[in-house]
Every structure is written in C-alpha cells, then in structure tokens.
C-alpha cells in the first residue's frame, strides 16, 4: 500500500513563484499618469479582473507607464512586471514582447522559452492552468489596446 504521490517537485512548475507573490504585494508603477498619451482598460468578465494601463509615448518610445490592476495575484503581478519591462522601450518593441509573452503562456507546459522574457519567465507555471492563462496576459492585452488608440 503506497500513499498517493504528489507531483514531482519542480520549481519551474510552481505557479506562485516568489517573484509573482512579490509583485502582487507591491506592484511597480501602480496607479495612473497625470498626462497619458495612451490608455485603455480591459476586464476579464469570467473572473472580474480589471487592468487599466496609462502610457506616455514620445517619439515612438514608452517614456512612462502606470498600471492599476485589480484582481488575482497573477493578473496584478503580470501587469507590474510588464510595466517594468516596457518602460523606455519603443512601442514596437513592447508589441514584440507582448507577442512573445502570449506565445510563451499559450505554449505546452514543457516547451522551451527564451531569456528575453526576463522576470516574465516566472509565469511558466501558468501553462499548466488553462483557465488562468488569461489572468497572466490581461496586462499586456490592455497595453496593446492602449497603444492602438490615442486618448
């Protein structure tokens, strides 16, 4: 008679990485910008998460960004990490990062991924949780929406 076994311990599969918990507790670039050139709010009607992104884009580059993320730890942390990574990038580079993150999140759990994702790699575990993938990508989707249209 053997006890049921737990999933093998693998730090990469753990959903609630220290990085995610830290960004949830103390989100970076939280709040609003006084004079955003671009902004958008997206929600996930399935779970009620809401992310608002403000950006100030000058000469095609994101000079300032602020996020107001309400919801679960995954959506809050993802928006926070995103804000730290796209600041001072061109809008085009931010779009490329968004696409890379989207692809990373939607990939099979065991798929390899690139170092360019930086702290976003903490979301590898979400690939095992189909219903939670949308939490991780909500911030980037809000950024893309904001970049589509000027205020």
């Amino acid at each position: 008679m053997t006890e049921p076994t737990r999933d093998p311990p693998d730090d990469r599969d753990e959903l609630y990485q220290a990085t995610i918990v830290d960004h949830d507790r103390a989100p970076r670039n939280a709040g609003a910008l006084a004079e955003p050139t671009h902004q958008a709010t997206l929600d996930n009607p399935l779970c009620g998460d809401v992310v608002t992104v403000h950006a100030r884009v000058v000469d095609g580059a994101i000079r300032d960004i602020a996020c107001d993320a309400r919801g679960c730890a995954l959506s809050r942390a993802a928006a926070s990490i995103m804000s730290t990574m796209v600041r001072d990038r061109t809008a085009e580079a931010a779009r490329r990062l968004a696409a890379a993150f989207e692809q990373f999140v939607q990939a099979a759990p065991e798929a390899e991924y690139a170092d360019e994702l930086g702290e976003l790699r903490a979301f590898a575990g979400v690939r095992r949780f189909r219903s939670r993938r949308v939490c991780a990508t909500l911030g980037f989707r809000a950024l893309l929406r904001a970049l589509e249209a000027a205020t």
Partner: protein, 403 residues
Amino acid sequence: MGSDPAAWRRDFPALEQAVHGRRLAYLDSASTSLKPRAVIDAVVRVFTHQAGNVHRGVHALSEAATEAYDAARDAIARFIGGRPDEIVLTSGTTAALNLVAHSWGRANVGPGDAVIATALEHHSNLVPWQALCAERGAALRIAPIDDRGRIDLAALAGLIDDRVRLVAVSQLSNVVGTIAPVAEIAALAHAAGAIVVVDGAQAIAHLAVDVAALGCDFYAFSGHKLFAPTGTGVLWGRRALLAAMPAWQTGGEMVASVDYDRARLREPPHRFEAGTPNIAGVIGLGAAIGYLESIDRAAAARHEARLHARLRDALAAEPRVRVLGAPDAAVVAFTVDRAHPHDVATIVDREGVAIRSGHHCAEPLHHRLGADASARASLALYNDDADIAALIGALARVREIFR
C-alpha cells in the same frame, strides 16, 4: 431506505478519482452536482435502448422514450407537490425564468408598473427583470438585505404597492446560503395583486420543496444541481397562469394543428416546449428524483445540516478568513485576507479540493457585501468530514504562499 452517508458517497463514481494525486474533496455542488450511478445508467439506457424521439413516432423506440419521458414529468410533479400539466420542461433555471419574463411578463407588465427583485439574486433572476422593465417601461425595485444576507421583510413590504406586478426571490441564496421566507413574501405580494417567482436552483437539492406550501406562483430549478444532467430544468407554474400565457418560442411539438397562415397551440405545458426536448437529460432527471426517493432524505438533510455547521464554524475560526453573511444551509462563501479568491481556488485545487471562486453570477450582491469576489465551498449529501478537513488544511497553504 439508505441512511448511511458512506453508502451515498459510493453511489457517485466521480468521487472515486484522484485529483493532482489527492483524494477529491468536491465542494462545488452549488455550481453543479455530481451524478449518481442511477442517473448515469438511466442516460446510457436511453441511448442504448430508448433512442427514439418523444411524442412523435409509433415505433417501439419512440414509445419507450415517450413512456420514460412522461414518467419523468410525473416524478418531477410529485417531487415538488405540483401536477404534471404544471411542469414545463426547460433547459435550466435561466430558461425557466426567461420564459416567465418573456411570456407572462410581456403580457402583464406595462408602463408605470414595477417588478421587485431582492438584493440576493443570481444574475439569472435579476437580468431578465431588468430587460423586461426596460422593454416595458416599468421600474425595477430592489428589496434590501441586512449584513447577514437576510431579506428585510419590512423594507420589502414598504416596496410593495399596487403598481408591483411581480416579486422575484431565490429560496436559498447561492452566495450567502440564507433561506428566504417565501411564504411570507408571497402573502405580502398577493395582498397587493402581485405574483411571486421563486428561483429554486439551490433550494431544490437541499430543502423539501412543496410549491403549495410556499404559496408561490412560479418555481424554477435546474436538473444539474439536483444530480441530473446539464441542460435540464423545470418551470412549475400555477395552472391558471400557464393557461393564460402566450407562447414564447414556437415551432414543432407545441402546436395542436397548423395551416399555412395560422397555428392552434397546445395546452400547457406543451405550449411552452417547442422543439425536440433534452430527452435523455429529462429521463436522467427522473432517475435523479428516483434516487432521492430511494434514500432517507431526512437523514440526508440532517447529515448536510451537521456538515454545514461544521464547515461554517471551521471557516469562521480560520485566521484571515471572513465568511460572507450568516449562511443557513448548503453554501459558505468566504474571503481570505491578502489572497484573491481565484488564487485561493487554484491553490486548494492542487490539494484536491474543488471550490468555486468569483462572484458566482451575483455581482451586485458581492458589492453589497463589500467584496469584489469570494471563494465558495458548497455541500451535497456525498460530502463528509474529510472534505472539510481537506479544505481547512489547504487554506494553511494559501496563507503560507500569501503571507
């Protein structure tokens, strides 16, 4: 008469599986219940031996399907104290309530009239009345609740005047687990000439429902929360009300005779059952009622009541946990300080514990209770003390991750 909770557990094959290598603690029956073997077997039997259409063919398979289907309607009527011709079969509670709104509502609610819904309502017993009132130029009034999640009867009485045509109330809240005083509400409504529509989606699986004793005019519930397949539901309505109601959806099955320019409609309940119904699902619902009639329901109610008190008290005693309202039965919704309900549900799932998270289709109620969302544990007769212990143990893991 089975009265042994351990034997009830064995009637539900879904409980035999491990989840993430753990024993499954299924605490999400308010979303949908697991199905007993008797229901699964009945559905398999339909597709194996009774796969004809109902009320149409004269061949053997159609006859067998029709007989089982009509027997299910009889069983449903018996189960809630109604008559078979008062049982309209629908796809679920939502369709049943929409039928009342679209048929009775459009015919009886006009400009300047009012509809009352309580602050407890699930979206399915709120949004149809919003839409009806918007379309008909009527006002929607919300009957307030107290912080325990109880309807304020005096305030409700104050909202009722001769403009009110309909009062909508859920018998057992799917969030705060409070039981509404339906008979008192019905007396207030009837005194003003209004009718009462009861959302019984949660109550049907936990309370002994007798529509005559409740004094309501319509009673709606879903099969899938009563151990039956999804896509089944019931609208019970007073015969006189149903007889006077126009059809909502039209087509085959609901007509007596048809010419190119007109159709003569059938009497209720068939007038409200256009198209081929969910035959296997309805027969499965009949089997679910047969299963409940085969066990000691009073013992099941005592078992659930004891578990519910334990669950409520155990959650209330947990650090950083807040229970929403003062639940009477079946469900306990709660929040964990510094952890979002979705994260709570994901973490406890890894420990084999299935709970719901979100606003449970009751967004305004969550705002009233000062929460954006909640986690919800809900019970059925197949739960046991080990399920509650598993949830409480898993909450320690939540606090460990979100310190």
